[in-house]
Amino acid sequence: MWNLTLRNLRANLARLVSTAVAVITGTAFVACGLVLTQAIASSVAGNVELQYSAVDAGVVSQGMTADGPGALEGVDAALLEPLEALPEVSGAAGELVASTKLLDSDGDALRSQMLGRSWITDSELNPFTVDEGRAPEAEGEIAVDRGTVDRFDISIGDDFDLATPAGPVEATVVGITSFGRSATVDGGGTVFLSPGYALEVLGAGSEQYTQILLRSDGPPGELVAAARDTLPTNVSVLDGEDFRTEATASTQEFVSFLRPVLLGFAFLALFVAGFVIYNTFTVVVTQRSRELALVRSIGGTPGQVRRSLLGEGLLLGLGASVIGLGIGMALSALLQWILQRFDVGLPGAGFALSGWTVLITVGSGTLITVVSVLIPAFKAGRTRPVEAMRESAVDHSGTSMLRLYAGGALLVIGVGALLFNRFVQAYPLLLAFGALTLFWGVVVGGPLLARLFGRAMRSLLSRNLTGRIAADNMVRNPKRTATTANALVIGLFLVTLVTVSGTALRDWAMDEVAKLSASDFLVVAVTPIPDDLVQAVENLDGVTAAAPVQTALVSDATGVTALLSGADIDLLVDTMGLEATSGSLDDVAAGAGAATTGFGQLSEQRPSGGPPGPSSSTTEVGPDPSEQPDPEVDGPTLDIGESGSTTSQADVGQVYLLENPAGEIVEVPVAAVLELQLDTIFLGTLVNQDLFTEIAGTQPVGQIYIRADQDRIDQVGTDLDNIVADYTGIEVVPGNFIGQILGSVIDFLIAAINGLLGLSVVIALVGIVNTMNLSIHERRRELGMVRALGMTVAQVRSMVRIEAFGIGVLGTLIGVGAGVFCGWVVIGSITEVSIPLAWGRVGIITAVGLLISVFASIWPARRSTRIDMLEAMAST
């Protein structure tokens, strides 16, 4: 039977191609998703491994290891020298990383995401190598990564203006660097400065390294121990492995979030492709039933027929999956290239083909193909020879009543559950159940919907003969029409659902945020704000009040860290209209205690063991909670995260036990609870400047809140932008920026998700074209006959076009309809307030669906009249 299998494949090249296209498209997207995920993961993990491979111990501030704006926290540069002096230390380097931009002659940044790094002089600790020229050694010298050099045609000796945290500086390129096989670790390019120059420019005079790297020729354990003994308690020493884990932690989190999302979309693509593949094979088997019957009638057993078809599926699935894998890899390379053009490239490792990618892609592609063949193959095996030898090769298989009832029931249950959710009581589980049931109802009840739709279309087109026939053709095999349309339904359903509920979520969130008052402008920084900049802002024309705020991460007696802000309280009241819900802000201004936002930054731990503090690695440094000096105070701790805010409300009269740099405990009573405002979440716990210094020492300014003259607010905004333009890492944001950031983040997510879902819509397009072409092949005698009877080329084409378009419209209407309905229920679950549906966007999605339907109709229509009339009629 293998012989028959091979011959079948060879004899029907056109059929082979159309089925292969379905499999290839599906597997290509799966491969692309897998390769990209892998690339992102390995680019992150692999780079860290390589970058810090020689590090035996890392010295970081405690703030670095906790969540929070740790970027402000560095390790004092003065600590490097005693470490270098240790006998266990063979090599040591302070590493400093900060946003830095190379500016062109117009003063615009060459690349938006560039980073400045201190050049590590210890060659073993330094993962970067100098390709040309030399390493930066003096002030005003920089080395630039090869990628940036190649892209912007930079040569050694070129002079550049740099925007740095310390403001604008001038520098000369003295070297070109690379990182392993790739240009650099930073996606946006890297600028290297000599260690001393980096402290001055990147550190903006803060005399802190981001971290200190140590290397030892002896046992790493001794190195860690020795370093710990030398260093104060406000910094942590991590062994090489922990250090690398720490360094990848945040990015790993991102990858581990991204991976299932990307994979989810890849498998969605495969799922949709599965529909197309399955459908194609059903058509092929039907069309071939006579051929198979011949095999049966000359003695082939049903088993042999099945095996022959399965063999065909196996060969096709395997072959097409391998091609799909190749195309998928090419596609991901193309995607990466495009991303790089937009400066969001994946640095480092590049992309590699792992065994898993091959296995999953080829395995799933082949499996789906084989399963898709299996069902029609069983049908084919059951065909009675006599029955199939008859002339009509058209699939008359009706839709089982069971399927119709099941589909109808699922639809009713799904809609019912969703309506209950919307109008009676919202339960998330019921919502998910309803949406899933509705979805399966659409899939299972597809033929029913197709039949209803065909009937409606027929009556709509009753005056037009070709339209009427097209409508009839559509429901000739409602199962096939439904399966074809379903591929489109899935994609459009999800796109609509994501868009409708996402847009509503965004509008709602922005609306909520807008209700909170705020300062007019906020200067935020990931680096210290230099004093001259603070003064420039304060003296700016049109600024009526400016409140610089010092920030620091402090830890309490249990070692948990949180954000502490210090500022002139009266100025803050002027700029952002700070108010207290309980207690008195005057007490805070007088230094009698702290004001808490009640936003979860600080909260009281209940004796019964309320929310546990985050399992931070810094706990090793702080003393055990049981050793607290005052057991009467209910062990107040600093707590980060939302879990704290909901369970333990801050209250006036609580006392925080905070550790100052000298390691002493400072008791800080809560004197006021702040009313929740837009900006207050950036304050964490607020104290006056004196108390701040007592707790955290002298710290740079991290934020400036600004109140502007309302008549000149636009001018002030422009002036502020100009002032900070020369500083990287410092930004001016308008007061309601959270709303805007939130909005743009959600918008970006919607766009990203829809972009990925778009793949499935494209596959659906291929599916419609495929099904139509096979239908045309199947009905070629009929088409020949109507041509003979006097149907013009234009009429035949319009007939085919209407049918293909009809399938597309069916898919679009069901998909968008179900999506809007589910989205509407989801919106109802978010909030009581009625949010208008994003009809504009729904309109766009519908238009895209219809456009795809138009595309899907062009090719089959052309093909339909290329059939030779006489040949078609003569073929038996």
Binding site: L465, I469, D472, E782, A788, L789, G790, T792, A794, M873
Partner: protein, 270 residues
């Protein structure tokens, strides 16, 4: 629909008219319903050349029933297909009435088939999604022409389908399906009906019915019918039988009987 304007008809200008072969239409005869003049249909090229039609000239009289017979490969189906505008000659001319269809483009040809020619095929005659009634009026609907209800009723009654009009083809027997095809050909009152082995797939009773209807159409309505068949019994329903061999017209028989047809066929085979 835009009908191609038929050029003024002048038999004297026909190339074949002044060179009559043994069975060719004489110039004095009345207008032909359809004519093939010096027709060649050549497949392949050079040494592998196959001449399906080899310089044939033939005419079909109006309001007569003509049968075309011949052994397999004699070119009888090709002749019909070329005469009916389903295929084009390699060389030569085809007239439907006064219209030289070799000068028509594809669209004009399609419209001509729709307006002036009726077809009955051996199989795959009907659109499975349309009812019997819709199938019958299909060419008229295509052309956007109004159905003459009186005539429709008469035709339907004649072929005995009055109670079957709302049935789908799949609900009809093979003989009934073929009767629908005949009714479809008749209802548009074409200039000429071409039937390609219309009884090839039918039992003898259904065959007799179909042939009877075609005969009746000629006698009662003055319809012109051309039928390709290999069945001598079917040929006896015709007024005139043309015999083809190797793409040429080799014989002709008026008022055929089963025996005379068999005799001619035997002679051809021998």
């Amino acid at each position: 629909m835009n009908d191609p304007q038929p050029p003024p008809f002048d038999p004297a200008t026909l190339p074949g008219a002044d060179a009559p072969q043994h069975s060719a239409p004489a110039p004095t005869q009345p207008q032909w319903a359809a004519q093939v003049i010096d027709g060649y249909k050549i497949y392949g090229s050079a040494d592998s050349e196959v001449r399906a039609l080899d310089g044939i000239t033939v005419g079909f009289e109006p309001s007569r029933f003509t049968a075309i017979m011949g052994p397999s490969g004699s070119g009888k189906s090709t002749l019909m297909q070329c005469a009916a505008g389903l295929d084009r000659l390699s060389q030569g001319q085809v007239f439907i009435g006064e219209v030289d269809i070799s000068t028509l483009n594809e669209k004009q040809l399609t419209l001509l088939r729709r307006e002036r020619i009726g077809f009955v095929f051996q199989q795959f005659n009907l659109l499975p999604t349309l009812t019997a009634g819709e199938n019958i009026t299909f060419p008229l609907d295509l052309a956007g022409r109004k159905v003459d209800q009186g005539w429709m009723d008469q035709v339907v009654t004649t072929v005995g389908l009055a109670d079957r009009l709302t049935h789908k083809p799949s609900e009809l027997s093979g003989g009934q399906q073929q009767r629908v095809a005949v009714a479809r050909a008749l209802v548009e009152r074409p200039q000429i009906i071409f039937a390609d082995e219309p009884t090839g797939n039918l039992d003898s009773q259904s065959s007799a019915d179909i042939l009877h209807f075609l005969r009746d159409a000629v006698d009662s309505f003055g319809q012109t019918v051309v039928m390709v068949t290999h069945d001598p019994v079917a040929a006896t329903y015709a007024d005139r039988v043309l015999f083809l061999s190797d793409g040429r017209l080799v014989d002709e028989l008026m008022a055929p009987t089963k025996d005379s047809v068999l005799a001619r066929m035997g002679a051809l085979a021998g």
